[in-house]
């Protein structure tokens, strides 16, 4: 393969902009490489008899990749897996390990000397035909599920072969990428990536941010038309792929890339320093973590520990019942080590509402239903007890804290405390290593809890305000409902009033109060929240350097004044305007230019 054309000279093609969603900021300038856009192709060249073992190894590699992709599909679905979909994904995973498939495929490779892809296609076609003979139309359609498995493995086979061909300094264009793909491509010098599929919270997006690889997802439009070796720019902040950039565009992006790189250097500097305001007020800037992969990148982002380790994906990404006490101990230990010398706050499984294990009857009002701590306490032996035991055991490895989701009644905190005591005693009797000092915190997301903040602050060891749910409950708005979503805003004075009340209760009782909702990463909300008196912010790791940088450039006194004005405002729009003006007045543009601070 020839070397990529020099991207510094613009070619004849007209500049084209393909829009998507930016998931990892940064600018990449290079040559495109198409990584499997379109249906996979099957290699039909017969293999040499002595290449049989290699081909079997190729098959194993592809099966492992396909399994990883399926794993990813489970988590990408934003944790809302309907029973049917979850079961189909699970069935696909079972098919990849099914001897009824693998036995005959291996046999064909060995005796017929065909490629893994050809063998797989032949075997699955036989099965598809069999199902296709059914007189039942619904069952006949199930051949689609087999076809999907076939496509996944064929694609994985194709990728295993093409990854080695990627030129250094390539911008990869693909339907979707797995974490394995990204790591291997990174080793081959990948500059940026653009995919049609994928989710902002997928493992790949997280990994791309961690590796500083500019990435754009959801670029549906015209991606089919781009070709390998086309010159291009990826703008991972704006979520844009620019093919055949004009000389002016290129010049502009070169400047931005240079600025970006110096910003990253400054951010790294800010991240390693404490989050202290200009008037000497210290804040704790912690990380929200959802995937195990994120634990490896906390140090780099300067996290003061983990403010929220969500455990739903850890559970839902495994087959039912597979996240056993032992497995949990291993993950929580890893979290404790990653957070050291700070604490790792683990939230108990928050099922129900928008995330469900898809069991039990459908509820008319899931967000007012059987979710969070309610569900856990009603079935204590199923999920709560093993999770509490795992936390106590992993607690020997560092400092863990436990956070209770969807708390409404004081009694819920007390009951979890007594279970912790019970299990600590039991572990002692069993002679198992554990540390019974496990601080208990309550999520403040139900308005009742914020209204009773003083009592909760006395009962709990710490409080964490979940502004996403609190806002939904206070304003009676479902932010996933397009018709009302514009009425949702965590900066609504009514929400801020409850934040203030909670922070005041924390101050009076010496109880730390954190905010762990998305507003903790919103550059306009942060000065208001700090002014209201919260002592910690917990946000997506990639937001942390920007947050620290912001805090290091402003004073607590100025933020107090902003918060006072915000609470007195009549509506959210007014608060937004006040916050914008405040930022413009108090914060230098260069500070805000931090590419990782989200701004809605």
């Amino acid at each position: 393969m020839s070397s990529p054309p020099d991207p510094s000279t613009s070619d004849a093609g007209p500049e084209r902009i393909i829009e998507g969603t930016g998931v990892a900021p940064g600018i990449a300038i290079g040559a495109l490489y198409r990584y499997d856009v379109g249906p996979p192709e099957v290699d039909r060249t017969p293999i040499a008899p002595e290449a049989v073992e290699d081909e079997l190894a190729v098959l194993e590699d592809a099966l492992a990749r396909a399994e990883q992709e399926i794993e990813q599909a489970r988590t990408i679905a934003d944790r809302i897996l309907g029973a049917e979909q979850a079961a189909i994904v699970e069935a696909q995973r079972m098919m990849l390990n099914d001897e009824a498939l693998l036995g005959p495929v291996r046999e064909r490779i060995r005796t017929d000397h065909v490629t893994a892809g050809q063998a797989l296609q032949a075997v699955l076609r036989g099965y598809r035909e069999r199902i296709g003979e059914s007189e039942d139309a619904y069952l006949r359609d199930r051949t689609d599920d087999l076809l999907e498995v076939e496509t996944r493995v064929l694609r994985a086979l194709e990728r295993g072969r093409t990854v080695a061909q990627i030129e250094p300094n390539a911008i990869v264009v693909a339907d979707a990428l797995t974490a394995t793909d990204l790591i291997q491509l990174h080793e081959h010098g990948l500059l940026g990536c653009v995919t049609t599929g994928g989710g902002p919270h997928s493992h790949v997006s997280i990994l791309a941010r961690a590796l500083h690889i500019p990435a754009v997802i959801g670029a549906e439009e015209r991606l089919e038309a781009v070709e390998t070796h086309d010159r291009a720019v990826v703008d991972g902040q704006a979520g844009r792929l620019i093919v055949h950039p004009s000389a002016d565009t290129l010049e502009d992006y070169r400047r931005r890339r240079a600025r970006q790189q110096s910003l990253w250097a400054e951010q790294a500097q800010a991240a390693s320093a404490p989050a202290e305001t200009t008037d000497g007020h210290s804040l704790s800037v912690q990380a929200n973590v959802e995937f195990e992969e994120e634990l490896q990148i906390l140090k780099e982002y300067g996290a003061d520990g983990i403010g929220l380790l969500r455990t739903e994906v850890l559970f839902l990404s495994r087959p039912a019942g597979a996240f056993t006490e032992e497995e949990q101990v291993a993950v929580y230990r890893k979290a404790a080590r990653a957070a050291h010398p700070h604490a790792a706050t683990v939230r108990l499984l928050d099922l129900g509402g928008d995330k469900s294990l898809s069991q039990g009857p459908r509820e008319a009002n899931p967000s007012l239903g059987w979710r969070g701590i309610r569900l856990l306490l009603d079935r204590p032996d199923e999920l709560l007890r093993p999770q509490v035991r795992a936390l106590l055991r992993a607690n020997t490895e560092g400092t863990l804290r436990v956070l209770l989701p969807m708390v409404t009644h004081l009694d819920e905190v007390r009951r979890v405390r007594s279970m912790i005591q019970e299990e600590a005693d039991r572990l002692s009797r069993e002679g198992r290593a554990h540390d019974p000092t496990l601080p208990v915190g309550a999520m403040v997301e139900v308005p009742a809890t914020a209204l009773q903040a003083r009592a909760f602050a006395e009962e709990a060891d710490f409080l964490s305000i979940g502004t996403n749910d609190l806002t939904q409950y206070v304003l009676a708005v479902d932010r996933d409902n397009d018709r009302v979503a514009s009425r949702y805003d965590p900066l609504h004075p009514a929400v801020l009033g409850l934040v203030q009340r909670t922070a005041a209760a924390g101050r009076d009782t010496g109880t730390p109060v954190a905010v762990c909702g998305e507003s903790a990463g919103d550059v306009h909300a942060v000065p208001v929240l700090i002014g209201l008196g919260v002592t910690a912010l917990s946000a997506t790791p990639s937001h942390l350097p920007g947050l620290k940088r912001l805090i290091q450039h402003v004073s607590r006194a100025e933020m107090d004044a902003l918060a006072t004005a915000a609470c007195a405002a009549s509506d959210a729009q007014t608060v937004r305007r006040q916050a914008r003006e405040w930022i413009a007045q108090h914060v230098d543009d260069a500070v805000l230019d931090a590419p990782d601070v989200s701004s809605p």
């Binding site: 001897e99 009824a100 069999r130 039942d136 069952l139």
Partner: protein
């Protein structure tokens, strides 16, 4: 060795979801488990196998179980069929 007749009761038939339920249940037992339909016999621990039975509502299958825990295995699987795999009957 236990041999038993089971009938597909749920409306949608033995499609992907019930097939994976069946295999998950079957795999919990040491016993060998087979399902036969009109002379076509498949391993009850293979999703693809179960799917290729293409067993629609009302189809009758022969369940063959052999091993130490055959009694429990046969009962667990027969219960799934009886219950229509938790789906609409």
């Amino acid at each position: 060795m236990i041999e038993r007749e089971v009938t597909v009761r749920n409306r949608a038939g033995l499609h992907t979801r019930p097939a994976s339920m069946l295999v998950r249940t079957a795999s919990q037992f040491d016993a060998e488990i087979f399902l036969r339909r009109d002379g076509y016999e498949i391993n009850g621990k293979s999703v693809i196998g179960v799917m290729t039975l293409a067993a629609e509502q009302g189809a009758t299958l022969t369940l063959l179980v052999e091993g130490e825990d055959e009694e429990d295995a046969a009962n667990a699987i027969a219960d799934l069929f009886e219950d229509g795999f938790g789906e609409e009957l």
